[in-house]
């Protein structure tokens, strides 16, 4: 299974906010020389990322993007019926960040809000949840927020992760509309791979202790503390090179997608080598697969909407586009979706 179709719900708006601070990978201290740094940039496709300042959370990035998009859409805050906050770097373990946002944004007390703690597959999963809940028409306006401050739980002395991850928040506005084309999903999970990306301490299994906050050198160039995210690069690579392209082919076959009519394939921005393999597996030309990773890195669940805002925003404002998207990562979980965007409101990228 894993197939899902939602009806009567369409994307009407997109916005994004990133930190002003730019970290160039070429300047990172752990590369032995410029040639090594250039090699990593070339192989990952990531030249720089946005990094938030101490004390800034995902909701701090999300709020300006939400306020801006509501204004651009002409929606009042109390007209929003549901809000989904997709994040693995929530402001607090409890309460849900969605509750805090309901109050700070002035959403109605009758709004349905919830956090979805999902990583790189999060935008697709978030869209499937929002679309499912809104398709009966009882909820007419919804927001899917994807917000991550990845640089806070990746160790700065871990050369395996610091060049890759950045911070960003995005907002996708959805509206009930009986004339909307369906959104078709394929959703998969393989929990046997949960250790490929995980944060061992700070939850209830291994609560935070003074000892787990001590940095330990795991191997040369890799320093971590217990509350830092472990990313087993080879396990993730093995997963990503096989399962997402299989799933996209499954989506195309199951829902009879006419690939020739697809305008854009929007991929999670993890690694250009992997994404290019996926593009070629569907025989799509390069101009149909836009990238933002060169300037923003891997912003996990915000990757797909950030590509839409920064790379094809102008196109999405004018006319109808037929899109496929695929997000894949921590869980291991991966999701693909076929959807349409027509004359959307796409706010200009914001910086804080």
């Amino acid at each position: 299974m894993g197939y899902l179709t939602t009806r009567n719900v369409k994307i009407v708006g997109l916005s994004a906010c990133v930190p002003k601070r730019i970290e160039e990978n070429i300047d990172l201290p752990f590369f032995v020389d410029q040639a090594e740094a250039e090699k990593v940039v070339a192989s990952t496709g990531i030249a720089r990322k946005r990094v938030c300042e101490d004390g800034v959370t995902g909701s701090d990035l999300a709020k300006p993007a939400i306020v801006r998009l509501l204004a651009d859409l002409g929606w009042s805050a109390d007209s929003v019926d549901c809000l989904f906050y997709v994040s693995m770097t929530r402001d607090y373990i409890a309460p849900q960040t969605a509750c805090i946002l309901q109050h700070e944004l002035g959403l109605s007390e009758s709004a349905f809000v919830m956090d979805l703690p999902l990583g790189c597959s999060g935008w697709v999963y978030g869209m499937s949840v929002a679309g499912s809940m809104m398709q009966t028409g009882q909820m007419k306006r919804g927001l899917v927020i994807c917000a991550e401050t990845n640089t806070k739980n990746r160790n700065k002395k871990d050369r395996g992760v610091r060049p890759l991850f950045g911070d960003a928040a995005t907002v996708t506005a959805l509206e009930y509309d009986v004339s909307a084309k369906p959104m078709n999903f394929v959703l998969n999970v393989d929990g046997s791979g949960w250790k490929a990306v995980h944060m061992p301490y700070g939850g209830m299994r291994n609560p935070t202790t003074p000892e787990c906050l001590v940095e330990v050198e795991i191997e040369p160039g890799v320093v971590r503390k217990g509350t830092d995210m472990i990313v087993n690069g080879m396990d993730v690579f093995s997963f990503a090179i096989k399962r997402p392209p299989q799933q996209l082919k499954d989506l195309v076959e199951h829902f009879n997608v006419d690939l020739a009519s697809v305008d854009y394939l929007l991929l999670h921005q993890a690694n250009k080598f992997i994404d290019e393999k996926i593009r070629r597996s569907l025989k799509l030309p390069p101009e149909k697969v836009p990238y933002s990773m060169q300037d923003f890195g891997n912003v996990t669940n915000a990757s797909i909407p950030l590509v839409m805002v920064t790379q094809i925003g102008e196109v999405l404002r004018n006319g109808a586009k037929h899109c496929l998207a695929c997000g894949f990562g921590v869980g291991l979980a991966w999701g693909s979706v076929e959807f349409y965007v027509k004359n959307a409101i796409v706010s200009d990228l914001m910086e804080v």
Binding site: A42, S43, S238
Partner: protein
């Protein structure tokens, strides 16, 4: 230049090895051969030999000898 010589060159450049070390390179025993190193290697092989590797081949390639066998398939 033979395919083997070209492959040795790629291993030398990618992982900073001597030609002799390159011929005996194995994933587990080569410090620079991590996930990023693997992507670098696969990129260099694809560009150097003008081929597009299949995912299974990319995942199976864990030594110089396996890389040599892999290239012979294309």
């Amino acid at each position: 230049m033979s395919n083997k010589e070209k492959l040795i060159d790629i291993f030398v450049t990618t992982f900073g090895l001597t030609p002799a070390e390159a011929e005996g390179a194995v994933f587990k025993n080569t410090p620079a051969w991590d996930s990023v190193g693997h992507v670098n290697l696969m990129n260099a092989i694809e560009e150097g030999f003008g081929i597009s590797l299949e995912p299974d081949d990319i995942l199976d390639c864990k030594s110089f000898a396996q890389a040599e066998t892999m290239i012979a398939k294309y």
